[in-house]
């Protein structure tokens, strides 16, 4: 049996349990109880973790845990900027900002100006948005610094960031910061960087379709394989939440 342990601060060394194991007939239950720990992911099954529903039932079925993870870094790799990667995340963003006691939802170094009327039309509560124009100074590490601060401080529910060619070490730092602050970090990267190693929990490629997007999970903990096709709701771009 292969057991993978994610970087939660728990001791999951099974060999230590050799002495203390109960009598043989109780072992399956004990083992099941141990393996029920959320920090343990058995390859071949979808990982269990606290998630935000994505707002697309078809996507929820494919994502491990049934939605976007609540703590950790994910990468979204659109084929071009603006093919629908932002609309893909809008239902989750709207639901999170509408929650009572919601924390900030930060946009770090957005490439263009986020348009408030469209966001409000998607159901996003603008009150919870925080726009950080970090690329203004033209220094790239500053936007990653701002992203790490945003992820690690524990004051944000979701943080979006746009970065060009982040290094694997930086991504690992960002992921650890996101887990520390229990924040969903979404890093938008170019599709061309899909071949690079990354510590992110989830890597999602996004391609445009007529009236929707095609989503492929490049990396996930037991998520669906193959493309998932999503259609925007008829009226606008965003699916209305129930």
């Amino acid at each position: 049996m292969r057991v993978f342990c994610s970087s939660f601060p728990v001791s999951a060394d099974l060999s230590e349990y050799g002495e203390a194991l109960p009598p043989r007939e109780d072992r399956p239950q004990e083992l099941a109880r141990l393996l029920a720990h959320p920090a343990i992911w058995r390859a071949g099954r979808a990982a269990r973790m606290p998630v935000w529903p994505s707002g697309f039932p078809a996507l929820d079925k494919g994502l491990p845990g049934g939605g976007w993870p609540q703590a950790g870094l994910i990468e979204v790799l659109p084929s071009r900027l603006g093919v629908g990667e932002l609309s893909l995340l809008m239902p989750a963003l709207a639901a999170v900002t509408r929650r009572p006691g919601a924390r900030w939802c930060a946009w770090v170094a957005p490439v263009l100006q986020p348009f408030a009327p469209a966001l409000e039309a998607c159901g996003v509560v603008l009150d919870r948005l925080l726009i950080v124009q970090a690329h203004r100074s033209g220094v790239r590490p500053l936007s990653l610094w701002a992203f790490e601060q945003t992820l690690g401080c524990g004051a944000c529910d979701i943080a979006f960031a746009w970065a060009r060619e982040p290094r694997p070490r930086q991504i690992r730092r960002l992921h650890l910061a996101a887990q520390r602050g229990s924040t969903l970090g979404v890093l938008f990267r170019s599709r061309r960087e899909a071949g690079e190693a990354s510590q992110a929990l989830l890597r999602v490629a996004v391609e445009p379709l007529e009236g929707g997007v095609r989503v492929t999970l490049l990396k996930s903990r037991g998520g669906a394989r193959g493309p998932i096709e999503l259609k925007w709701a008829a009226q606008g771009k965003c699916v209305e939440q129930a």
């Binding site: 603006g82 093919v83 006691g101 900030w104 100006q113 009327p117 948005l129 726009i131 124009q133």
Partner: protein, 475 residues
């Protein structure tokens, strides 16, 4: 009831009765032994008089005594709001209300002694129901503690008259008739006393015993904090500079703690030799008084500052102190078990602003305007009216991304091109408004699909030359 009777004798409307050589005040036998347990104060007011002496060990101590006294008065505002200066060497505090908060008379004297030591002064303290009595006892070097107004005159009587700081010639004349203590002066007939030694002196005696009011001007400290520090040698390292700013920040923290306030703006000036000073201004989202967090934010600020030359002095100037809402700490971390993120969220904004500039971090709000470029605004984060403002409800589909300014597109055959041909995928939406403020627009908006499958927001000008522009991306 003897004290009550003496009060009648001292009433200003009864001088004619004193002509018959009635003693000014009956003097009860002096009690030297202090009561074992501190009794509650039985008087309307209780004043703590402080007479300060400069520490002889410090150079030029005598010249610095008045600034030191003002510093002491500022520190003393922590103990009571009613602090009065009594130049050249005295300080008065009304402490009736704060006596029980600081552990009685002894605790209060301990606090005040520590404050004196902090200012480099040695103080003599006395507690009495009237300000002049407390001050005179302190000036006579007697650490009296009188908590009952009935005992006041008896305890004051043995004090020498020199404690009242009357003119020396007058004191000599009083000494000639054998009057050397306050008690002896109080026994003299009022009318004769006023006639021979002056009405002002009689008034002083009335104030001393509490039979005349003695209003004291309340001490007001500086409103803003401003302190400069000369460095012992020139520094160019930012880390070392931050270390040198530490004591100033500590002083700022105490300054603000005494007022229960925080600062919203803090200016730091760094002085160079032969050049204008570098200055940087820290703007905060909420009133802050914590030296450690201010140091952290200032460190971020200094990191972005380019210093033209080494620094030989630094200065901190605060904005107006703002009352600070004191809140309890959170048991839970933000995000777990419903722990709120209120404190952490402001900290995040301040840290980002310290490094990136205050305009780099903002919130979004809708503005009721049909022109897309005027339909949104940057606000203070969290200041946008919440859900239900409805400013943008009912609009047709709008893109999630807006270009900072419309971008002119090339055309072929009256159709726009953007890195390849564009296909128009919607009916036009006309926006024609803004004639009243000089920014009039007359445009037909379309949704266009480019060769990569992106949905773009385009418009064509209604007026000649009918150019095409790209204004948004649906994302």
């Amino acid at each position: 009831m003897r004290a009550q009777k003496s009060a009648d004798l001292f009433a200003p409307d009864a001088p004619q009765r004193t002509a018959q050589a009635v003693p000014l005040a009956p003097v009860p036998p002096h009690r030297s032994a202090a009561p074992a347990a501190a009794p509650p104060a039985r008087c309307a007011e209780l004043w703590l008089g402080v007479r300060v002496l400069a520490d002889a060990e410090q150079p030029h101590a005598a010249q610095k005594i008045l600034p030191a006294l003002r510093r002491l008065a500022t520190l003393a505002q922590r103990l009571t709001p009613r602090v009065a200066l009594a130049p050249p060497d005295g300080l008065l505090l009304e402490v009736k209300g704060s006596l029980h908060l600081f552990g009685g008379a002894d605790g209060l004297r301990g606090e005040m002694d520590a404050a004196c030591a902090h200012c480099g002064l040695r103080g003599t303290l006395a507690l009495a129901p009237t300000p002049l009595a407390a001050l005179s006892a302190a000036r006579a070097g007697r650490p009296l503690v009188v908590l009952d107004s009935a005992q006041l005159i008896g305890r004051l009587s043995p004090l020498p008259l020199t404690a009242l700081r009357w003119p020396p010639g007058l004191l000599d004349r009083l000494a000639c008739i054998g009057v050397r203590t306050i008690g002896q002066a109080l026994r003299l007939p009022r009318a004769g006393f006023a006639h021979r030694f002056g009405a002002a002196q009689l008034k002083d005696l009335d104030r001393l015993t509490g039979h005349a009011s003695d209003p004291r001007e309340r001490f007001e400290g500086r409103m803003r904090f401003r302190r400069r520090r000369e460095l012992s040698f020139e520094l160019a390292s930012r880390t070392a500079l931050l270390g040198e700013l530490g004591p100033l920040l500590g002083e700022l923290e105490r300054f603000l703690a005494a007022r229960q306030c925080g600062v919203l703006t803090l200016e730091c000036r760094l002085w160079h030799r032969g050049r204008p000073p570098s200055r940087t201004v820290l703007r905060l989202a909420a009133p802050l008084a914590d030296a450690a967090r201010l140091a952290q934010l200032l460190g971020e600020r200094l990191g972005t500052l380019s210093l033209p030359a080494p620094v030989h002095a630094c200065e901190l100037r605060s904005g107006l102190p703002v009352p600070r809402g004191l809140s309890s700490g959170e048991l839970w971390q933000p995000g777990e078990h419903g722990g709120s993120a209120a404190a952490g969220s402001l900290e995040l904004i301040e840290r980002l602003r310290a490094r990136l500039g205050s305009e780099a971090v903002h919130g979004l709000a809708c503005v009721q305007d049909h022109r897309p470029e005027a339909a949104w605004g940057a606000t203070e984060p969290g200041a946008c009216p919440g859900e239900g403002s409805g400013a943008c409800r009912g609009v047709a589909s709008r893109p999630l991304w807006l270009l900072p300014s419309p971008r002119r597109l090339t055309e072929r055959g009256r159709l726009p091109r953007y890195r390849g041909g564009l296909r128009l995928a919607s009916e036009p939406e006309r926006i024609e408004t803004g004639g009243w403020d000089g920014a009039e627009v007359a445009r037909d908006y379309y949704i266009g699909l480019d060769t990569h499958g992106r949905r773009l927001w385009l418009f064509r000008e209604r007026n000649p030359p009918h150019h095409w522009y790209l204004h948004g991306v649906f994302g």
